[in-house]
């Protein structure tokens, strides 16, 4: 007996899925903004010659790169609120987890980018009388950032895929909406297939943009770091 595919119940629930997609983009955007800023901070601390700055930064980066993001999410959602006595919504827990988690990966991208800049640039800046932070801000970072863009976009795409974990703590992202629609319509096959395709289209487009940007940077003679 062949299964009769029927997508109409799923299409009837399109508004739920659209809302889910918007929420997925919301959590991705939030975590990306905080993750990049925090990642730069962590990278600068880790590169600091002072041990009491570089060690804690290194510790945070290693812990968050080495443990599974789902464990981190559960910790921030179930354990942290009791520890500090605050209410934690699924969105806040997800935003905190994915910000720090992606920051530890962004930090390594920043670090590789900063270290890829030739020593001569530092020497030149110093010869012009710049202090360390001035040289970093005016000379090193602007050059490094351009080289980091491809690795950056790759991490951003990884981040978007990671945000699906937030469905496990009942935040209404696209995956959570899929769960809801499939239970409502008794059409798990069609629902999950449609949702997988939505993710594919969004992430595939983002990957293609990343590839184009990388090609352009490669043509303009900028090497890339990963």
């Amino acid at each position: 007996m062949a299964y009769q595919w029927d997508f109409s119940p799923v299409l009837a629930n399109a508004p739920l899925l659209v809302e889910g997609l918007v929420n997925t983009l919301r959590i991705t955007g939030t975590a990306l903004a905080f993750g990049v800023a925090l990642g730069l901070g962590l990278a600068l601390l880790r590169l600091s010659p002072r041990r009491f700055l570089s060690w804690p930064a290194g510790f945070v980066i290693e812990v968050f790169r080495t443990t599974p993001p789902l464990v981190q999410l559960f910790w921030f959602f179930f354990a942290l609120p009791i520890l500090v006595g605050i209410e934690m919504t699924p969105f806040v827990a997800g935003a905190v987890t994915f910000s720090i988690q992606s920051a530890s990966f962004f930090a390594e991208v920043f670090r590789a980018g900063i270290q890829s800049i030739e020593r001569g640039q530092w020497d030149g800046a110093r010869a012009l009388g710049m202090r360390h932070d001035q040289a970093m801000r005016r000379i090193i970072l602007p050059q490094a950032v351009k080289r980091m863009i491809p690795a950056f976009m790759e991490r951003a795409i990884e981040l978007m895929k990671t945000t699906t974990l937030i469905a496990t703590i009942s935040y209404a992202d696209l995956l959570f909406a899929a769960n809801e629609v499939s239970q409502k319509t008794f059409r798990p096959l069609e629902t999950y297939t449609v949702v997988a395709l939505i993710y594919f289209v969004v992430i595939f487009l983002a990957s293609q943009v990343a590839r184009l940007v990388e090609l352009r940077l490669a043509r303009s003679g900028e090497s890339t770091v990963h």
Partner: protein, 219 residues
């Protein structure tokens, strides 16, 4: 707030069962993912259109969808097309293995492409066929270059294994949830689970750093 890990230690048995579950799914996905990845990678490398196009579609699809979506698809959607049920272990293994195959395929392809054409010419001059040259000359050299990236893949697989808890497969995180709900000690339970994962993965991560340094030095 006082930390009290006694309630976690009382449940060491449950954590051991979870650790065994985590190691089991890790081993399955590592073997399936990396071997299937080699096949798909060879397909991606091939100039034969009938191999190249399906391999490319496979890689693009599984790289560009979240692995949790894949696992839930295999668990909730696929059984409808099949005459039998799919266990949590099977669904999670399928999702993680296929995802890892897609990522490792690109590692294999990159590694094989990085070998100079002279090696192929030399192998051919010695009378080797394509398969022989690949097996005896190209892959052994390429594997050395791929080792750091493949180790990173293994680390990713270990971390991804926690997603199996979403379909109630008994692994470490799932057992952590159980302990937390039985003893009302989420702080200790989830901290213990996080520490266990860190202890498992930290040596692996250090090993991958060591491999990367050695490769940089050798080349």
């Amino acid at each position: 707030m006082r930390w009290d890990f006694a309630s976690v230690f009382d449940n060491t048995d449950a954590l051991l069962v979870g650790a065994a579950g985590t190691l089991r799914i890790f081993a399955i996905c590592l073997v399936l993912g990396l071997s299937l990845g080699l096949i798909v990678g060879l397909g991606r490398y091939s100039r034969n259109r009938w191999l190249h196009i399906p391999a490319t579609i496979f890689v693009e699809f599984f790289r560009n969808t979240p692995v949790l979506v894949q696992i839930l698809w295999f668990y909730f959607a696929l059984p409808i097309l099949l005459p039998f049920q799919i266990s949590p272990l099977a669904a999670a293994s399928l999702g993680i293995s296929l995802n890892s195959a897609a990522f490792s395929a690109e590692i294999y392809r990159g590694g094989i492409q990085s070998i100079e054409t002279g090696q192929w010419d030399g192998a051919r001059a010695l009378g080797m066929r394509w398969g022989q040259a690949m097996r005896r000359i190209i892959l052994p050299q390429a594997l050395k270059r791929m080792l750091p990236a493949l180790t990173n893949r293994a680390i990713e697989i270990f971390k991804m294994s926690t997603l199996a808890s979403a379909v109630a497969y008994v692994e470490l995180l799932q057992q952590g949830k159980l302990i937390a709900s039985l003893n009302y000690n989420p702080i200790e339970a989830y901290t213990a689970v996080a520490v266990i994962f860190f202890v498992f993965l930290w040596p692996l991560v250090q090993f991958s750093y060591f491999l990367e340094r050695r490769l940089r030095r050798d080349e």
